[in-house]
């Protein structure tokens, strides 16, 4: 089946929030944001702004009737700054006018006096000053400290990995429309309609049932609208509430980039100990997460960093420390991978460094330490249906790794200015929200008397193909044609308390709920059919191709007739159902449990060509073997793999998020923040799906797909490093991502500092700092 929205998209007929027909009297809002990264607000002068033509009203923190608080995990984030500002871009006031232009002009004439305070942008500096969010956390397996002694080689190093701007093509957008009796409907571009509903109600000081949030589709989300669509919805709602007029708030690209959070930058230290043959015995890592000015989802993201710090490897002795550090930058937030990629990157750096010291190919260490069935993760769960080795071996065989290596090494021997490189990248990603309670999904299914079917779920369509998969699951369960099925907008009145569409889990959860809701209706219909046609075993009634069968033979009824008869006989044709996968839990006091429903595995081989004169590069190919279980819709899933991969490749190479020491965003427009475009795309991408890979824990044996493929992109970093080492074998390059052409050139020709290396004898080994906070 093709994506059910695709035809509409190509005709330009799909409606996003700002495309909806305009209600009469629609007003437009624009946000005044702090120009200063840290300080006390002394005065806000709105006089000039109020006099601008077309301005209707201006609201500040004082105008919030309910609670001025939007922090999703920790109440540390006001909707509008009241006494303090903590980052550049923090909303302070909202201007409402007759046009967006008028609102923006007025915003420009707002003056704010601020007593400036010290600005922190570096997570380690924040940590040293005690500026942390929540408590530091440590996962431990085995006994790290006593293992160092038995290692043949110990390598230490430091990694810096940059943030990433989402660049969902549709910027943050919302329309708030007051309705009768103190109720309100919001059309919001959010991955989390319930969060918007709950938070708007809190801001306005009214119960949730007076707020309806409706979401048809998003022009991309990638995590950037999981929690951070909420403030804009709240602001529009606040204005609409006071004015009792519909209000639209659409950030322009500049505002969006400036005011919203991104993927977290991390700074990490690693220490890894191995046997001579490449077996990893011990791994210790300390992650300093740059959380930005407030918690947002940072603690949850930090947790996933902890979960994925050993990637697809079994490491018998591991200690993983992570801390969320508060800085004066916009609150960093969810982004596809949710902290996992940062953890994996450091693991891969440690392996790279160890391989360089041991002078063996990196992939030898990787292969030797891949997870096997029953191996324990540092968080206590054991690998079940482990597919790290099988995807690796299949990739190596299918794409002939030894031929690739030969070709590349031969090329490098005969070329001086241009070098090639390759790298393998295995992934292992846990599926489930790590906050166990969020692992719940709902669906509401109606069958109308004409046989058409309407499905509402708690999942949001943001381009990931969720709606298409729901149709596919419904068709499979119902046995009728897809044309009869419609997936409705996501709506808080039809589905309550929905979890955000995130963690790759929406199809598992809401698709699972859809199947169960349909099964409810089906079982009523089967009972009814059995009664009417005097059939003994209702269980042996099936519907195939719209025909009602008994023990595989036609009953003479088709779907339409069945529905009409059932309706006349007063059988309920609607059902709501729920799905909460069993067996997942996590104990944060012991840091052990079974947090994931299952894991997704895969391995990519990436090849690059590096122009060592100019520092520029091309990604030649990405070949990968991926585990989708039994895919629900291959076209949609391949699209997710390719799209995630591109984002991962971009994050590691050209996507260069930069702030200065004053907390100013330097990469503040698409002119200065560069993401992959068509010429950046690898010349060749080849995807092999693991066959006969069942997954009893996913709907119809499928596996989630959204996030894991992004992490294949990490491989490009090491492919480039390979090429760089071919050009300058004597240099020891620092681990800093993204590896922009600038970094490449500086690394190749500048004086680069090496990370500390200690090879036996052990006495020269540097003391590792004791890990605190456990």
């Amino acid at each position: 089946m093709k994506n059910i929205d695709a035809a509409l998209h190509t005709r330009g007929e799909s409606q996003y929030v700002s495309d909806l027909p305009k209600p009469a009297g629609l007003l437009y809002a624009a946000v005044f944001a702090s120009p200063v990264a840290h300080g006390e607000i002394v005065n806000i002068d709105l006089k000039k702004a109020r006099q601008h033509s077309g301005v209707i009203a201006i609201f500040t923190a004082r105008d919030i009737p309910g609670e001025n608080q939007i922090g999703p995990l920790i109440p540390d984030e006001p909707l509008l700054a009241d006494s303090m500002v903590h980052y550049i871009g923090q909303p302070v006031a909202i201007v409402v006018a007759v046009s967006p232009e008028a609102a923006r002009k007025a915003v420009k004439s707002i003056q704010m006096e601020v007593k400036e305070l010290e600005v922190i942008v570096d997570p380690r500096a924040a940590f040293q000053k005690g500026e942390i969010i929540g408590s530091p956390r440590t996962f431990e397996l085995g006994d790290v400290d006593s293992t160092w002694d038995v290692c043949d080689v110990i390598v230490e190093g430091k990694c810096e990995v940059g943030g990433q701007e989402h660049v969902y093509l549709e910027t943050q957008a919302v329309r708030a429309i007051p309705t009768e009796a103190g109720t309100m409907t919001l059309y919001s571009s959010t991955q989390s309609p319930h969060a918007v509903q709950r938070t708007v109600a809190k801001i306005l000081g009214i119960p949730s049932h007076r707020i309806t949030v409706d979401v048809k589709r998003l022009g991309g989300g990638f995590g950037g609208k999981e929690d951070q669509a909420t403030p804009w919805a709240c602001l529009a709602a606040l204005a609409a509430w006071h004015l009792q007029k519909p209000v639209e708030l659409v950030l322009n690209r500049h505002e969006d980039i400036l005011m919203t959070g991104k993927r977290h930058p991390y700074s990490s230290d690693f220490k890894i100990g191995l046997k001579k043959d490449g077996t990893i015995l011990a791994y210790e890592v300390r992650h300093y997460q740059n959380a930005g000015a407030s918690a947002d989802l940072s603690p949850a993201i930090l947790e996933r960093t902890l979960f994925h710090s050993t990637n697809a490897y079994f490491i018998p002795n591991a200690r993983i420390f992570a801390v969320s550090c508060r800085t004066n930058l916009p609150p960093f937030t969810a982004f596809r991978g949710f902290g996992g990629p940062q953890g994996m990157f450091v693991m891969e750096c440690a392996i790279a460094k160890a391989a360089e010291v041991l002078n063996i190919p990196r992939e030898e260490i990787q292969r030797k330490n891949l997870l096997k069935e029953g191996d324990e993760f540092p968080y206590g769960q054991k690998a079940e249906a482990a597919r790290a080795e099988v995807t690796w071996d299949k990739a190596v065989k299918t794409y002939d790794l030894s031929a690739i290596k030969q070709r590349i090494d031969k090329f490098n021997q005969t070329h001086f200015e241009v070098k090639k490189g390759y790298a393998l990248m295995p992934i292992c990603f846990g599926i489930s929200f790590t906050a166990t309670h969020l692992n719940q999904g709902s669906a509401l299914v109606h069958v109308y008397t004409d046989g058409s079917v309407s499905i509402t779920t708690g999942g949001v369509e943001m381009g990931q193909g969720f709606s298409t998969k729901v149709v596919e699951l419904a068709v499979k369960t119902l046995g009728i044609s897809p044309e009869r099925i419609r997936v409705e907008s996501t709506n808080t009145t039809r589905i309550a308390n929905m979890s955000p569409s995130a963690a790759s889990a929406t199809t598992d959860l809401c698709g699972g709920a859809t199947i169960r809701a349909i099964e409810q209706i089906l079982s009523r219909l089967k009972r009814f059919t059995a009664e009417q046609l005097s059939l003994e075993k209702p269980d042996e009634i099936t519907i195939q191709n719209e025909q009602v069968l008994y023990q595989g033979k036609p009953t003479g009824w088709d779907w339409k007739e069945l529905i009409q008869r059932a309706y006349m006989a007063r059988v309920s044709l609607s059902a709501h159902d729920f799905w909460a996968p069993p067996g997942i839990y996590f104990d944060r006091t012991t840091e052990k449990g079974h947090p994931f429903n299952y894991h997704v595995y895969g391995t990519a081989i990436i090849e690059v060509t590096l122009d060592c004169l100019r520092g520029i590069y091309q990604i030649d190919s990405v070949h990968l073997v991926h585990d989708l279980g039994r895919p629900v819709n291959k076209l949609v899933d391949i699209g997710q793999i390719e799209g995630g991969l591109a984002q991962g490749l971009g994050w590691m190479t050209v996507e260069d998020l930069q702030f200065d020491e004053k907390g100013r965003l330097l990469s503040n427009a698409l002119a200065s923040y560069k993401l992959p475009e068509v010429y950046f795309t690898p010349e060749k991408i080849d995807i092999t799906l693991l066959e006969k890979a069942d997954n009893p824990r996913g709907p119809y044996g499928s596996k989630a797909v959204g996030e894991p493929p992004l992490m294949y992109g990490i491989g490009v970093y090491f492919a480039l490093r390979y090429a760089m080492r071919a050009f300058a074998p004597d240099k020891d390059f620092p681990f800093q991502a993204p590896l922009t052409p600038e970094r490449v050139l500086i690394n190749l020709y500048g004086d680069t500092k090496s990370s500390s290396i200690s090879v036996k004898p052990q006495s020269e080994e540097k003391e590792v700092q004791p890990v605190s906070g456990k």
Binding site: R11, L666, Y679
Partner: protein
């Protein structure tokens, strides 16, 4: 200030009064309810707002994709504006179908504009639409969801379908075939007649409302877009006499309004600068190059302006004319481009003066030209450092040399000391190495988002080396020039 414009919006004749500086994107979305055209950045960087602008020429209709977010409404007078809505038929077109079948749309936000550009590809290339063309027309579009692989596959599907077309030389012939095959709506065939009928004197002809000049608008809208709809502006493109490329004696005269695309496509330029198409591919995107003018590049005076860097090395001159009525007696004047820049964005030009033409001598057979540009992202990005060279040798002695470098000074820099040093010298390793050192003393890069000062110095050196390795591969290699042994 308002102006009345008559134009064709898809199949509809429009007659309206608008501020000339109003953006076509805003006109479409806010005033005409054409919401298939999306706003993703309003700076020319995402392509979500791409529309086709069709003009009646001697050889029939000629369409170009442009970003409507940088296009002043005053300029669409007398033209055919095509949005995605104007490409829809009752069935999906082969372009739309290919995107659907390959799953080349996910969130869909970028998709309508991509349909517009791919359809343009068919109009321009017809049966010859190939893989490179697909990339060429997609290069100005950002799609955050798909990673482009499925779009490239869709491009292949479209090509397969296009094979049934008969190869033809002009857009108008292709368009007729596309109509016949049900790929373009039939109203396209009536467009030339309609435009002829609607044709009237372009507003403002012969009259300059102000010295707020807008040429392609690709710089000025990014810098001060919010204020332009409210201002009296002069749309220079309504003065087509400033367009075109002609040879006069040993010189080429480039009209200041010549766009990047027109420049690179012109046979005289291709002869003078054989690799111009490769170089041009590194600059902006197709949609932006269809608007960006050479004159705008010069007057905007960005220190990394790509065309300026190339023209500096070509040793170009400018012809300026004064438009202020009070200074009408002032004759046109000519100035060497390298003398035009006085400091950061400071020009030897009065506010009312227009750059009319750019002049450079046609390279002799023994002259070589080369351009280098490195940016964070290879395509559609501003240079960290760029550089150009024009050089001629006699018996391995440098007869003439012009070198320029961008991104390393407050102005686009002509490396005069380096050139002085090298002219008359033998082309050998030690002279080039010495020149490299001199060049380093001429530049003064600063750290910014395009790179640290240290990086730009390093890159300047390497691009300098690149010129000689590219032009004289038998004589120079990176290894020798850097004394790297191993």
């Amino acid at each position: 200030m308002t102006t009345s414009i008559r134009f064709l919006l898809n199949d509809q004749e429009m007659d309206m009064t608008v501020p000339p500086g109003l953006l076509v994107l805003d006109l479409l979305r806010h005033h005409l309810e054409k919401t298939g055209t999306k706003e993703g950045c309003k700076e020319g960087d995402c392509g979500a707002c791409t529309v086709l602008l069709g003009e009646l020429t001697d050889s029939g209709m000629h369409y170009r994709p442009v970003t409507s977010c940088l296009l002043p409404a005053g300029e669409i007078h007398g033209k055919h504006l095509v949005t995605v809505e104007g490409l829809n038929l009752n069935h999906l077109t082969i372009v739309q179908e290919a995107i659907v079948n390959e799953g080349a749309t996910q969130c869909g936000f970028c998709t309508p504009a991509i349909v517009v550009s791919l359809t343009y590809g068919l109009m321009e290339k017809g049966a010859n639409f190939d893989d490179e063309d697909v990339k060429y027309v997609l290069s100005g579009h950002l799609c955050r969801c798909t990673g482009y692989a499925s779009l490239l596959r869709a491009g292949k599907l479209i090509q397969q379908k296009a094979h049934s077309l008969t190869p033809s030389a002009t857009q108008s012939e292709n368009i007729l075939q596309l109509i016949e095959k049900g790929i373009l709506p039939s109203y396209f065939s009536e467009v030339p007649e309609k435009l002829k009928r609607m044709a009237s004197i372009p507003p403002g002809n012969g009259h300059l409302p102000s010295a707020k000049f807008i040429a392609g608008g690709t710089d000025i809208y990014v810098q001060e877009g919010e204020s332009l709809p409210d201002l009296a502006v002069t749309l220079l493109n309504l003065f087509p006499e400033m367009k075109g490329i002609v040879q006069k004696g040993k010189n080429l005269h480039i009209g200041a309004l010549t766009t990047f695309e027109e420049f690179a496509a012109h046979p005289l330029i291709q002869k003078a600068i054989p690799r111009i198409k490769d170089y041009m591919l590194l600059n902006a995107s197709l949609q932006v190059r269809n608007r960006a003018t050479i004159g705008g590049n010069i007057v905007n005076a960005s220190p990394i302006a790509d065309m300026v860097i190339l023209l500096l090395a070509l040793n170009a001159e400018l012809i300026l004319t004064e438009t202020s009525p009070t200074q009408k007696d002032k004759p046109m004047r000519r100035i060497r481009l390298r003398n035009f820049y006085k400091g950061y964005k400071k020009l030897d030009k009065s506010p009312t003066e227009l750059v009319k033409e750019i002049v450079f001598s046609i390279p002799e057979p023994d002259e070589q030209i080369h351009f280098e540009k490195v940016s964070k992202r290879r395509h559609l990005d501003i240079a960290s450092v760029n550089s150009a060279i024009r050089i001629s040798l006699k018996d391995n002695i440098i007869n003439q040399i012009h070198l320029s470098m961008g991104g390393v000074a407050p102005i686009p820099l002509y490396l005069s000391q380096t050139c002085d040093y090298l002219s008359g010298k033998e082309l050998n390793l030690s002279n080039i190495q010495e020149a490299m050192e001199i060049a380093q003393t001429e530049i003064s890069p600063i750290s910014d988002i395009r790179g640290s000062a240290e990086y730009k110095r390093l890159l300047s050196r390497n691009l300098f080396i690149a010129h000689f390795c590219e032009l004289f591969p038998d004589q120079f290699s990176l290894k020798d020039l850097l004394n790297i042994h191993g």
